[in-house]
């Protein structure tokens, strides 16, 4: 079916496709909305936030026990971590909680058997709870460049900010990506949901594809880093007032910049919070109906004083 979502988008062509045939028998939800978006990158640097995630490979209700999510009918080892030249034990899939208090939280899968997946970082208060989950493959740099045009080998690159504030650089080469040593393959580098990369090129076109999220997304924000994050909204620009960011920021201290999408990454606007409302650069609450917006495909630069989590609403359920 063609959904109303496509009516508000000039650039994105979205389709609704039943994926149930590809999912295990325990699947309870089977109509992800998939599509693609073509983006022109200007010469210079821009913050790019992919608007899509990968379609789920498993969806079901699951009981949590410690760091394990119960499942059934899985192929043992199918979602295990992999070891790459630059990163041993690197995740390939993740579990996402898709309803309830922890909706949007994701956990990298370490391994799986036929009856459970083992992850890391599950809060203790989730132990014993039954939640709805989805298992998805990670969105990777290779997914970002697939279908691209105009990227230059060993010249165009992305910067990814790590939780400790350091930056990882990946260079485009021969249709994939390589690490800073200019030799280790790095196309597997994960772009977490809601996170962005700083994409530097001489001008290119990228085409992102995937599933439009219909549920919330929990995006970690780290105090030690400037966090490049954004609304997963493949239909176009996103209103600042719709970011749901005010409650996340420490009043009058934490803030975020909106960089331009012209290759210069100059700051076009700055926002703070009073704890309840988003404040503009003059520390005045955004007026109802304010049109302040983040360019399509782009993100924001968030500075926080302590680690926290931004719960981002779905573009389909704002």
């Amino acid at each position: 079916m063609t959904i109303h979502y496509s009516k508000v988008s000039l650039a994105a062509i979205l389709f609704a496709v039943s994926m149930s045939a590809n999912l295990p028998a325990q699947t309870t939800v089977s109509t992800p909305i998939v599509g693609f978006r073509k983006t022109t990158l200007p010469s210079g640097s821009v913050c790019v936030v992919p608007g899509f995630v990968k379609s789920p490979v498993y969806q079901a209700s699951s009981v949590i026990s410690g760091q394990n999510f119960a499942a059934s009918g899985l192929t043992s080892g199918a979602y295990d971590q992999s070891s790459f030249g630059d990163r041993p034990n690197y995740p390939t899939h993740y579990v996402e909680i898709v309803s309830g208090t922890y909706e949007g939280y994701t956990f990298d899968i370490q391994s799986n058997s036929a009856s459970q997946v083992t992850v890391s970082g599950v809060p203790a208060q989730l132990n014993g709870q039954t939640v709805s989950i989805a298992i998805r493959p990670h969105y990777k740099l290779d997914d970002l460049s697939a279908g691209s045009n105009g990227l230059l080998d060993y010249s165009d690159a992305v910067n990814i900010t790590n939780p400790d504030g350091t930056t990882t650089t990946r260079y485009y080469a021969s249709g994939s990506w390589i690490a800073e040593d200019f030799s280790s393959p790095a196309g597997h580098t994960v772009i977490y949901p809601g996170s962005g990369v700083v994409f530097s090129s001489g001008g290119a076109t990228i085409t992102t594809t995937g599933t439009v999220k219909t549920t919330k997304t929990a995006v970690p924000l780290y105090a030690a880093a400037v966090n490049y994050v954004g609304r997963m909204n493949p239909s176009g620009s996103s209103l600042v007032s719709g970011l749901n960011m005010a409650g996340v920021l420490v009043p009058y201290t934490d803030g975020f910049n909106v960089p331009s999408f012209d290759g210069q990454m100059t700051t076009t606007s700055t926002y703070f919070s009073d704890g309840a409302e988003t404040l503009d650069a003059g520390y005045s609450p955004l007026a109802p109906g304010a049109t302040d917006a983040i360019p399509a495909d782009s993100g924001i630069q968030v500075s926080v004083s302590s680690d926290t989590v931004w719960i981002m609403k779905s573009a389909l359920n704002p």
């Binding site: 210079g44 640097s45 080998d153 060993y154 010249s155 165009d156 690159a157 992305v158 910067n159 504030g165 650089t169 260079y171 080469a173 021969s174 390589i178 200019f182 030799s183 700083v198 530097s200 001489g202 105090a223 880093a225 400037v226 490049y228 420490v250 009043p251 009058y252 201290t253 934490d254 803030g255 975020f256 910049n257 960089p259 210069q264 990454m265 100059t266 700051t267 606007s269 700055t270 703070f272 009073d274 503009d280 650069a281 003059g282 520390y283 005045s284 630069q301 500075s303 004083s305 302590s306």
Partner: protein, 244 residues
């Protein structure tokens, strides 16, 4: 190996590889209101109703390698020179208001005369400050004067008529966010007194009235202070005389 060889070939042709960096800018802000603290006059109670706040850092030439932090002797010297001479002395030490480097956000003004701190927000947000000038973790300062103003067209100030002033730079706190340290590339830093959980040592010129509310009192001219001391000494002498 194949990739490595290819890179070497490319590097030989083009000389270097284009680095993947942003334009390297930061946003630095300071705000005062009743929620997050403010300057008061030297009496420790009354709002400051004129003058303005300057915020920035010290650099001998504005480059990253020449960030300067005045020591306690330097602050003592500045203090003894009086509020009226402070601005000129600060400039000679390399003081740079970040408004000289970035673009001033719209919305409000760092002038106390806009309503008197803290009846309305006073302060400013300065965007697009080159990161190279104020690299991450550069010590930032907030300086308040009770007279004079900043001209954002000429990027100069006239604080020579000030009779009171104060300087705050939160530093040495266990939580990095409480320190007045410049942000990483692309980041923001909003300096306010309350969230910094000021201690007396954070108030370089002035006195901490209340840490929990972030209220800082300016100091008067040395001559004014001296007159007050003379007056106090006179009172003590009169009381002694009366006792006799």
């Amino acid at each position: 190996m194949k990739n490595t060889l290819k890179f070497i070939g490319c590097a030989a042709v083009f000389g270097l590889v284009q680095p993947a960096t942003t334009q390297a800018v930061v946003t630095i802000a300071h705000v005062e209101n009743s929620a997050i603290g403010y300057f008061v006059d030297s009496g420790g109670v009354n709002l400051v109703a004129s003058g303005e706040v300057s915020f920035g850092y010290f650099s001998t030439d504005g480059t990253a390698g020449n960030i300067y932090q005045p020591d306690s002797n330097a602050w003592s010297s500045l203090l003894s020179g009086g509020a009226g001479n402070a601005w000129g002395s600060l400039l000679s030490l390399g003081w740079r208001d970040v408004r000289t480097l970035g673009t001033l956000g719209t919305g409000f003004d760092p002038s106390f005369s806009t309503g008197g701190s803290p009846t309305t927000n006073i302060g400013a947000t300065v965007q697009n400050i080159p990161f190279a000038s104020v690299p991450s973790n550069t010590r930032l300062y907030v300086i308040g004067f009770n007279a004079g103003s900043w001209d954002n067209t000429t990027k100069t100030a006239t604080f020579g008529s000030a009779t009171e002033w104060g300087v705050v730079s939160a530093w040495g706190h266990s939580t990095a966010s409480q320190n007045f340290a410049s942000p990483a590339d692309g980041g923001t830093k909003s300096m306010n007194f309350k969230n910094a959980v000021l201690t007396s040592s954070d108030v370089l010129v002035g006195s901490l009235v209340n840490s929990s509310t972030g209220v800082v009192a300016m100091v008067p001219e040395p001559s004014t202070g001296a007159l007050m001391m003379i007056g106090a000494a006179g009172l003590v002498a009169m009381r002694r005389l009366r006792k006799v």
